[in-house]
């Protein structure tokens, strides 16, 4: 069922996300977070340095989005960001997608991600046999 017509905001995160940059970034995304049912995608492809303040900011954004019945998803994680999220045990709290487009698309479907994958596999035509 595809009933979603609300906009999805995609935001690219800065290269370094220390406490100062995190505060600035939070100030930037605050207007989107306070809307009704915000749908946000953070693109982490450019992140070279992520510290505890940055992770805390991500969690805060997610919590704010959930409070308003919205969601925050992460996309295109750089290896550095992936390592820090894994280190701080926070990667399991977020929905993480390969690309921002995938993350945006995920908002439009109602089905849980795992079920959508299963459906996709079922719908795919069988691979052509080798001649």
């Amino acid at each position: 069922m595809d009933t979603n017509s609300r906009p999805v905001v995609v935001k690219r995160m800065p290269e370094r996300l220390n406490s100062r940059a995190a505060r600035e970034f939070l100030r930037d995304v605050q207007p989107f977070l306070v809307t009704d049912r915000p749908q946000l995608v953070f693109d982490l492809s450019q992140i070279k340095q992520l510290d505890a303040a940055g992770v805390e900011m991500l969690l805060r954004c997610m919590s704010e989005a959930h409070k308003r019945d919205g969601d925050l998803k992460l996309a295109s994680l750089s290896p550095q960001a992936a390592v820090v999220l894994e280190l701080t045990r926070t990667e399991r709290l977020f929905e993480i997608y390969e690309t921002s487009a995938d993350a945006v698309r995920s908002f439009s479907g109602f089905l849980p991600n795992a079920m959508r994958q299963q459906l996709l596999h079922r719908q795919q035509p069988p691979a052509p046999l080798a001649a």
């Binding site: 049912r37 290896p79 894994e86 701080t88 045990r89 849980p112």
Partner: protein
Amino acid sequence: MDIRALVLVSKAVEAAADPMPVSPLAPALLEVAGKTALQRTVERLREFGIQSATVITDSDFLVSEDSEDEQGTTYQATPRERFWRAAENAFNDLAQEGAELVLLMHLGGYAEINLEKFVQFHLDQRARVTQASAPGEPLRIFCISASRRNDAASLFRSQLSRCRSECPFFEHEGYFNPLREARDLRQLAIDILTLKTETKPCGSEMRSGVWIERKAVIEKGARVLAPAFIGAFARIRSHAVVTRCSSVEHHAEIDCGSVVENSTVLPYCRVGAGLDVAHSVVGAGVLANLRRDVTVEIADRKLVGFVVAGRGQQFLSAAFELATYLPKQMWRGLFGPSQPQPRDLRTALHDTSPSLGGAAGYQTSACDTDAAEKFPSNLAVARRYGHQ
């Protein structure tokens, strides 16, 4: 027979600019399960009967000036640009002192070579220079007849890449680790802890597979699961877990609730509280994740940092924390922001939803229905998080 050893430790010949980004030290100077590859090599030389070894390094970390330890090993620090000249001079000195054979080892990697067989092979071959080789690659380990100074000089001047005369290869069949990257360092720790090497972890085996060095502190509630190594003066704080061939080197610290799994924590490194370090080598503000094959600089000292304070300073800071704890709590209690009280379901339902709050202009309840009457206030409310 007078056999001497000349051990060279440098980063100068490594192909990569920074082969081991987790530490500024040469790989042979990094502790693995309590000892460096250099220390293990010198010990091995002693076991073979070579009491006086000369170690030449271009690293100031090992030694600030020429020195000799109580077991007769001489250490010489030399600038990088004069490293090979110093090595050649040291060889000549050994020859002048009456050495008949010189074992030359350039420690990039760690090899457990059978020295007896190596020397015998050299003598049998009647060669001037013999080189050891592991399957697939020649090692930078040579046996040189001390009287053949010109051959030695040509070897040193080519940075051990070329020999003037014919150089037979001795096939090494024992353990060898090239120690080129963080992965090799981790592999060496695993091999030592699983006893695949002849060398053993330092310290005493407290339980089967758990080696703990002197003055290591394992706080109550912390768990160390075999095989694992905890170095001298290291501290494993409460509810931390060290497991799966992990090696926490001397003076390192694992803070409360952190899990160290299949990882090496280098000396003086501190892993912050509540972290999950897996398949990694943790260095000075650097973490090499082996599964992702990526090295990440971590500037945040809350995550990965240095243990810099001495014992006295640590004690003073702990005492200060203790002394100021009670006044701080009183201050917070009197003047700090008050904690929001948990509300029951009825109040929550009758309050305006935050998303519809002042900005939306709604003043009436968003959920002013009879449903609230039907549910008791202690009913658990399940929310959807993400797609779960």
